[in-house]
């Protein structure tokens, strides 16, 4: 029984394959959310968490999980980008307000330095060719890569999207922080696009899928890493900015004394 998607070197077929490890992981998240959310939750929160969960499941399970683990680097990178920039932010948005937490750990996690360093470190290590080739060859290794990506995305988004009640950085800082987060992926993306030869043995020596050559697959992966992730982060920056502006306007309106005309009306 194969529990988690990993590189197999077998010919790719479109015949469905079960990966029970992925189902158990998703089920564990559902149980955790249900226990945390005993009272009827806000519909938008529930929707966000549900959408994040469905996306995460589709990225880890067959066919994307299997294609990304052992056949196409472009799919592997798509998984990374969507887990980091869409699935995990949706899950965080869906988490109900927490009890106020201002402990040392909470403050550390909310700091931009911890977020950027944690995210960059995990991204860098999991994209080193020798590390990736070694890990993707086994189910446990592939699981470690997926969990590391999820952890990296959590530390990246925590200062921005931590549940209400938990320390976050201020809105203008969030915009700058998200801008800085667009920089680190440029490095692996550039290597993928401009390398003379394939960097990852896993994808270079894998049986070809739909005749896609290893070199063009790698170049597509580099473009997805940069051109796919950046717009998602820009959208997040725009949302943070306009929400902040709206909140500022509302606060200003409340603070301003009413004019005589407003009082009369």
């Amino acid at each position: 029984m194969t529990w988690w998607c990993s590189a197999t070197a077998l010919e790719w077929t479109w015949a469905w394959r079960p990966y029970p490890g992925v189902w158990l992981f998703i089920a564990a998240l559902v149980v955790w959310y249900a226990r945390k959310n005993r009272l009827p939750s806000h519909v938008s929160r529930l929707t966000a968490f549900g959408a994040g969960l469905v996306l995460l499941w589709s990225l880890l399970d067959w066919p994307l999980g299997a294609l990304g683990a052992g056949y196409l680097l472009s799919i592997h990178t798509t998984q990374y980008v969507l887990i980091t920039c869409v699935a995990i932010p949706l899950l965080l948005v869906g988490i109900p307000p927490a009890r106020r937490s201002r402990g040392r750990f909470s403050r550390f996690m909310a700091g931009p330095a911890a977020g950027l360093l944690g995210y960059t470190g995990i991204m860098a290590v999991t994209h080193i060719p020798s590390v990736s080739d070694t890990l993707m060859a086994t189910q446990v290794g592939s699981l470690v890569v997926d969990l590391a990506w999820i952890a990296g995305a959590l530390v990246l988004w925590w200062p921005v999207l931590a549940p209400e009640g938990v320390v976050r950085i201020s809105p203008p800082l969030r915009v700058g922080y998200l801008f800085l987060a667009t920089i680190p992926p440029t490095i692996p993306a550039a290597f993928m696009v401009f390398a003379d030869y394939p960097l990852y043995a896993t994808y270079e020596l894998a049986p070809r899928v739909a005749g896609i050559a290893a070199g063009s697959d790698q170049q597509s992966a580099g473009l997805i890493m940069k051109a796919g992730a950046d717009p998602l982060l820009w959208i997040a920056m725009a949302i943070v900015f306009f929400r902040w502006q709206r909140a500022e306007d509302a606060a200003e309106r409340q603070a301003r004394p009413l004019s005589p005309q407003e009082i009369v009306s």
Binding site: A9, E11, D196, Y197, P198, A201, E204, L205, A206, P207, R208, A213, A214, G215
Partner: protein
């Protein structure tokens, strides 16, 4: 007494060796050191003793006879036994060599011949084989023959003979062929294969080794 003579002989031999070393041409020493360095940089699997280029005459995809020794004289000759329906090893090896040859300078790539000998002559008709190879590189040479000729070619080339696996009953006419996975590299200076490249060799390995081997085996 015998011991004294033995010690004396050993000492004399040592002196002569010392003199020989002293008298060696420094340019020759430097050249042999650089050859040893070049050999150590190669990423294929060296074989000792080297294997001679086989005397084979098979048929090209245009239906012409092809004498391997004659047609590839003075070229770095990469010989591979495979089949076009292969799902993994054959397309990966062929694609990797094709990609690297396209990226190398023309003065290097023009000295390389890639010879793909089918192990599935039944399905790999000259037309199928030619079309498949041309999809990688128009310069690749496909060879075919009768089953007996192909078997003999594999024996002469000292590779594991290909075995047709039992066809899947659900898909008539579809079967796999178990075959040797290594590319045999015959160097241009001596027509010997000092080195082979098993499956797992990567483009960066070919890009490293081909420019060394086109100049002959480093010695």
């Amino acid at each position: 007494m015998k011991l004294a003579i033995f010690v004396g002989l050993v000492a004399l031999t040592a002196c002569r060796e010392g003199e020989a070393t002293k008298g060696a041409d420094p340019a020759q020493s430097a050249s042999s050191a650089s050859s040893a360095l070049a050999r150590s940089q190669l990423r294929g699997v060296t074989q000792e003793p080297p294997q001679p280029k086989p005397s084979l005459v098979l048929t090209t995809t245009e239906g012409k006879p092809f004498d391997l020794r004659k047609e590839t004289k003075g070229m770095l000759t990469l010989v591979f036994f495979g089949y076009t329906n292969c799902p993994d090893v054959c397309p990966v090896h062929t694609a990797n060599i094709s990609k690297v040859l396209k990226s190398l300078p023309i003065e290097v790539s023009s000295k390389v011949r890639y010879i793909f000998i089918t192990t599935d002559p039944e399905r790999d008709t000259p037309e199928v084989l030619g079309k498949w190879l041309a999809s990688f590189d128009a310069g690749f040479i496909g060879l075919t023959g009768t089953k007996e000729e192909i078997l003999a070619a594999q024996q002469i080339a000292q590779v594991m003979p290909a075995v047709r696996e039992v066809p899947d009953s659900a898909k008539p006419g579809q079967y796999f062929v178990g075959h040797a996975g290594q590319v045999i590299a015959f160097t241009p200076d001596d027509d010997l294969a000092h080195i082979v490249y098993p499956f797992g060799v990567r483009q960066m390995d070919w890009a490293n080794d081909i420019p060394i081997l086109v100049n002959g085996w480093p010695r």
